[in-house]
């Protein structure tokens, strides 16, 4: 590990990149793979996690569709899924990934474990945002004769929207971290690049390039999330 860290200096990186044009292509491709993997997984995790969050909220005690049996069951499943470390989750899901994608290696295959690992996280994140909403707003909608669907689409989601956007940024950033982990077991993207070239072949420059790219990616996403969320909040003021 020590020689990896001590190998870090900027001229080293630019030299490596300049001398190895093929490396630049590799880095660019890996970056796109990471962005692609994470974007699709985030999208899918919300497709599944958002409805799950809504069900968790509205079936809770005293809410508009109270169903404690369903609520406790879903809650336990979510907790169980969240307590499995991602690296084990990856391995456990290999058979399922094979069924869905046909292979367990590569960028597309990574989307399955990434999505499924993020769903319970998204569910809890969105659930928290939805529970922040003042019960008075739901009561007002009920008093006007709103049905469950109208309360979900016209009250819960719009009112929690700024918080949900921030949650998307947090989820995306988490998934970037997970995607690097998936990379180690052949998931593609910056993680694979860093592991194969940076670690196994002692090309420390590559290692640092991927780290810097990941940092930039995370910063950009957090900034974008904050900006969007604040824009909505300011508009409402």
């Amino acid at each position: 590990m020590l020689e990896i860290i001590s190998g870090f200096n900027l001229s080293n990186i630019s030299n490596i990149l300049a001398e190895n044009a093929w490396m630049l292509d590799k880095v660019t491709l890996a970056t796109w793979e990471t962005i692609y993997m994470v974007a699709i997984s985030t999208a899918f995790s919300y497709v599944l996690g958002l409805p799950l969050a809504i069900i968790l909220v509205i079936t809770d005690k005293g809410h508009i569709m109270e169903n404690l049996g369903l609520n406790r069951t879903l809650g336990s499943i979510v907790n169980a899924a969240r307590s499995i470390p991602f690296i084990i989750f990856l391995i456990l899901l290999i058979p399922l990934t094979r069924i869905i994608v046909g292979t367990s290696i590569g960028t597309v295959a990574s989307i399955v474990p990434l999505t499924l690992a993020a769903v319970p996280f998204v569910a809890r994140l969105v659930e928290t945002s939805l529970k922040e909403i003042d019960w008075g707003l739901i009561e007002a909608a009920l008093s006007m004769g709103a049905n469950t669907w109208q309360i979900i689409t016209k009250v819960l989601i719009p009112e929690a929207f700024p918080a949900i956007i921030l949650g998307v940024a947090i989820t995306t950033i988490n998934l970037i971290g997970y995607s690097a982990m998936a990379g180690i077991v052949g998931g593609g993207g910056l993680g694979t690049l860093a592991y194969y070239y940076g670690y196994q072949r002692y090309q420390t420059g590559i290692m640092w390039v991927t780290v810097i790219l990941l940092i930039i990616l995370v910063q950009l996403i957090q900034m974008l999330g904050d900006k969007l969320s604040n824009k909505i909040i300011y508009k409402r003021r």
């Binding site: 009561e139 007002a140 909608a141 006007m144 016209k154 409402r236």
Partner: protein
Amino acid sequence: MIQIEGLTKIYNAGGGEVLALDNVSLQVNKGEIFGIIGLSGAGKSTLIRCINMLEKPTAGTIRVDGQNISTLDKKDLREARQKIGMIFQQFNLLSSRTVFDNILFPLEIAGISPKQARKRVQDLLDLVGLNEKARVYPEQLSGGQKQRVGIARALANDPKILLSDEATSALDPQTTRSILKLLKDINRQLNLTILLITHDMNVIKETCDRVAVIDNSKIVEIGDVLSIFSNPGTPTSKSFINTIINKEIPEELLHPSFIGNEQMTSKLIRASFIGASAGEPVISGLVQKYDIKANILYGNIDRVKDTPFGNLTLELIGDPALMGQALDYLRDNGLEIEVL
């Protein structure tokens, strides 16, 4: 318009049962403003929430315009709720929508065509005087403006009744007055039945035709506001009235003064009169007929809704044998007498 019979609500809280409403019955007539007053925890909030089934009654029936609300299925209940407007202490406006879109909200729920709905919102904005705020978000409004939006929203689907849940309790006195005036105007213009709950006797005094006093989960008194003001039948009612009428009397004046004559007695009374009946000749009659002196400790003339309502706190000094007759004389002259 609203008939409540034998309404009982029991909450199950942490293994124990809490009786929130105990066999409550009352009737609200069409076109009147009916007030329910009680301290916090008395059950008034539960009572108003039972009328649109935000709380499910444990027993009893509630009819709105003849329709039994408590037995409706979900779909029919939603339709019935569209015809029961409600305004809230905390306004409960959607922060994600502009004023215009907040008022549009109940019309969307009712499935009114967008074109018709937008026209309706325009009319409602005119009614509550918020036209220039249509494109603004609720966060930018004052409390009074927010409640005006709340009122416009509650009126959107032409409700049969309007429920007001402590609608002015979060507002300052001046804003409270303007909101109460708006409610009175709406009541008059649209002949809309209004049921309001409050802990503030001023709200009852300024707006209501009739009032029910709720204490400890029970209705202890129902009547028109004027007669309850002049002749409260229960200690609870009395204490509510005292919150706005008697508080100006200094404590030491409530104890009869030292007379220095054993043949004389002193009595403190409160005399109240409604409408145009005059106090002055009656009191001079006391002196002439019974040789009883009246010392005026406190007097005021107030307005209960639109009727003048006067109050005199008197110390009567005179022959004990004549005191009873004197009080009867005052009562015969249209005064309500309460011996303090």
